[in-house]
């Protein structure tokens, strides 16, 4: 079993939803970012999404845009992001890591070379925002062939007619985007989200994680009640930002500011009991 499948199976056995945490690789700098990454599982992250910085993140709100630019200014590259994953894996062989970003850096790195290096580094899955099913030949099918899960975003605009196409080559889990909008913008409606998850589950046996716009422990608990996992990103990236000094550099508080929020989110999510999480 893959790390992702193993982790979701364990969550199902525990009878609780999971917490998926997103941080931007290299934000605000490589060393701080790695320190946060290594401490996430201990703080309660069940699955980690590691954002690959890109200059033009069309689906992201101001918080994640700014995080990417901070990382890029400090020299983050895709190669360094893979190096971070390798360093993380040296101490943790269980927590799934998913790279999330846009296609161009991967395309320029070279698809085959990227898939080989990502797998060797210990990456478990990919979320590439600008690769819909219509472009599956580009990366989705090669990734699946290379043994990496390709996690697709389903959205409120993905209707019944389109859902099968979206799910066809999805592996690992389905990421339901809880709002029509960019990351960290509107607040999702837990009831609508729960209905959408139920609808998606009629078409797939994969776990469904829900994200975009989930900021507080209370929201995380509400959303997690209707899903297999909840994703929190912008709020964590925002926690990085608020901890920086006037020059935008990390302070001694940066790591703890992020981890303390993760602990609160995790505690909230762990209060939810689920009959069947798979």
């Amino acid at each position: 079993m893959t790390r992702i499948a193993t982790r979701f199976a364990a969550l199902a056995t525990e009878g609780r939803p999971g917490l998926v945490t997103f941080i931007t690789a290299g934000d605000p700098d490589g060393a701080t970012s790695l320190a946060i990454l290594k401490a996430l599982p201990e703080a309660g992250a069940d699955v980690i999404e590691l954002g690959v910085p890109f200059t033009d993140p069309m689906a992201d709100g101001p918080a994640i845009q700014a995080a990417g630019l901070r990382a890029l200014r400090n020299g983050q590259t895709l190669a360094r992001t893979l190096e971070m994953v390798r360093a993380f894996r040296a101490g943790d062989d269980a927590t799934p890591i998913i790279l999330m970003g846009y296609y161009n850096p991967i395309y320029i790195y070279g698809v085959e070379r990227f898939l080989g290096d990502a797998r060797a580094a210990g990456v478990d899955g990919l979320i590439v925002v600008d690769l819909p099913p219509e472009e599956d030949d580009e990366l989705c099918l090669p990734a699946l062939a290379a043994g990496l899960d390709f996690i697709r975003l389903a959205t409120p605009t993905t209707d019944e007619k389109r859902l099968p196409a979206v799910l066809r080559h999805t592996a690992g889990f389905v990421y339901y985007v809880s709002i029509t909008g960019i990351t960290g913008s509107a607040t999702p409606d837990a009831t609508l989200v729960s209905q959408a998850v139920t609808r998606i589950k009629k078409h797939t046996d994969l776990p469904v994680a829900v994200g975009f716009g989930v900021r507080t422990p209370e929201q995380a608990r509400a959303i997690a009640a209707g899903a297999d996992a909840v994703v929190v990103g912008s709020a964590l990236v925002e926690a990085v930002r608020t901890s920086l000094d006037a020059e935008g550099a990390a302070t001694p508080q940066t790591t703890e500011t992020v981890l303390s929020l993760v602990r609160d989110l995790s505690a909230a999510v762990r209060t939810v009991k689920r009959q069947s999480a798979a």
């Binding site: 033009d56 925002v129 029509t180």
Partner: protein, 403 residues
């Protein structure tokens, strides 16, 4: 190289021109993009849509635009006989209105009442604001904060026309960032919003649809030249940012092997300076804003900031069909620096009494280089895509004067 039977068959059903094009967008937008494709495919074969287009093109836009023999420019350069296709005489002052009209009529058919657009120089924004005013639609124009500053007259025009101009503060604060912000708006307001893209770029079907709406430029040119000269052109030349005026002129003639075709990219302070917007000359294929095409970027695939004196060309990419036409060798893409464009700007004003937009001044800059080497019976058509009133502040600043 293989000689193709036709250069005019693209894109394929998935929106590819060779390796370029495609539909690289977030899932949220895909249903909208597929609905747009369906609506466009229905409209393009609907005689009623064509009749409606033709009516507005004739009576509102003022087409056909003149094809003008630039006698003094021709004499001055001493070579090719130069014709100017006067797109700057259209209502709103540029070729942009041809495409916007098509998309707005389509938006009406689709029942969308909120129109968003990105703009660089403001020509597309003004055209969008104009037609939204005409049809009573809500119009929001995203414009880089740098461009808002350097194209103030167009910002004022858009405001007068009732559009909301949103200055974009992210990234390089120019056209690229305006497009990012427009895409973010579209993702957020996907149910009621029509994204009116201003050039032959973006996800399929935009590159093909915008090209089709602009192709009237080339069709008129053929007919007008036949009447004036009894034959077709020997060469065509147009400035290329995204490349809609260029493709509008070129597409009609792609399968006429005797017609030499030149696209002119903005080379800013020179391609070797690194401060330019020449995606084909100085870039390589990558994926941005919904399509694969030549882009300016670093070794990690991060998009570079473009530079051009012309806000309309200040973009690190180019339409995918241009990338394809470059790959197959049908069109020659030449770089033109800020300084060369400024020379073209002044020369056309002084010799012909026409102040060109800085965008098409790049084409004039290359005409000054190419035309003298051609025989006197060589007919060269230049796309004069926009008028330069909006650029007088920028030009004055660069020439050391003040208004």
């Amino acid at each position: 190289m293989n000689v193709l039977n036709s250069y005019r068959t693209g894109p394929d059903e998935r929106g590819h021109f060779g390796i370029h094009g495609g539909r690289f967008v977030a899932e949220t937008l895909m249903p909208n993009i597929l609905a747009l494709e369906e609506a466009y495919n229905a409209a393009r074969v609907d005689p009623e849509f064509a009749r409606e287009m033709d009516g507005y093109l004739a009576h509102y836009v003022g087409r056909p635009s003149a094809l003008y023999y630039a006698e003094r420019l021709t004499e001055h350069l001493g070579g090719a006989k130069i014709y100017l296709k006067r797109e700057e005489l259209n209502h709103t002052g540029s070729h942009k209105v041809n495409n916007v009209l098509g998309q707005i009529l389509l938006a009406r058919r689709m029942g969308k009442e909120r129109i968003i657009a990105e703009t660089g120089a403001g020509q597309h924004g003004v055209a969008a604001a104009t037609l939204c005013a005409r049809f009573g639609l809500k119009c929001i124009v995203y414009m880089g904060a740098v461009d808002v500053e350097r194209q103030k007259p167009n910002v004022f025009r858009m405001n007068m026309l009732g559009a909301e101009v949103v200055p974009v503060q992210s990234g390089s604060r120019t056209l690229k960032d305006a497009m990012n912000e427009a895409l973010r708006d579209w993702v957020t307001n996907v149910h009621d919003t029509f994204y009116c893209i201003g050039t032959v770029a973006g996800p399929h079907p935009y590159p093909a649809m915008v090209r089709d709406f602009q192709s009237i430029i080339g069709r008129e040119t053929r007919a007008q030249l036949l009447e004036m000269e009894g034959r077709g052109p020997d060469s065509l030349i147009a400035a290329v940012g995204g490349g809609s005026n260029a493709l509008g002129l070129f597409h009609e003639f792609l399968d006429d092997p005797e017609v030499e075709i030149f696209g002119v990219e903005a080379a800013g302070r020179g391609v070797s300076s690194g401060e330019h917007a020449a995606s084909i000359t100085g870039g390589r294929p990558g994926v941005l804003h919904g399509n694969r095409t030549y882009l300016l970027m670093d070794g990690d695939g991060q998009i570079s900031e473009a530079h051009s004196i012309s806000a309309g060309l200040d973009y690190p990419g180019i339409g995918p069909e241009h990338s394809y036409l470059h790959d197959v060798g049908r069109v020659t893409y030449l770089p033109c620096t800020d300084d060369e464009a400024l020379e073209g700007f002044q020369l056309l004003a002084k010799l012909e009494g026409i102040i060109p937009a800085l965008e098409c001044a790049h084409a004039i800059g290359k005409v000054m280089e190419i035309a003298p080497g051609k025989p006197k019976d060589h007919i060269m058509v230049v796309s004069l895509s926009g008028r330069g009133d909006k650029d007088i502040f920028t030009v004055a600043e660069h020439l050391g004067g003040r208004l």
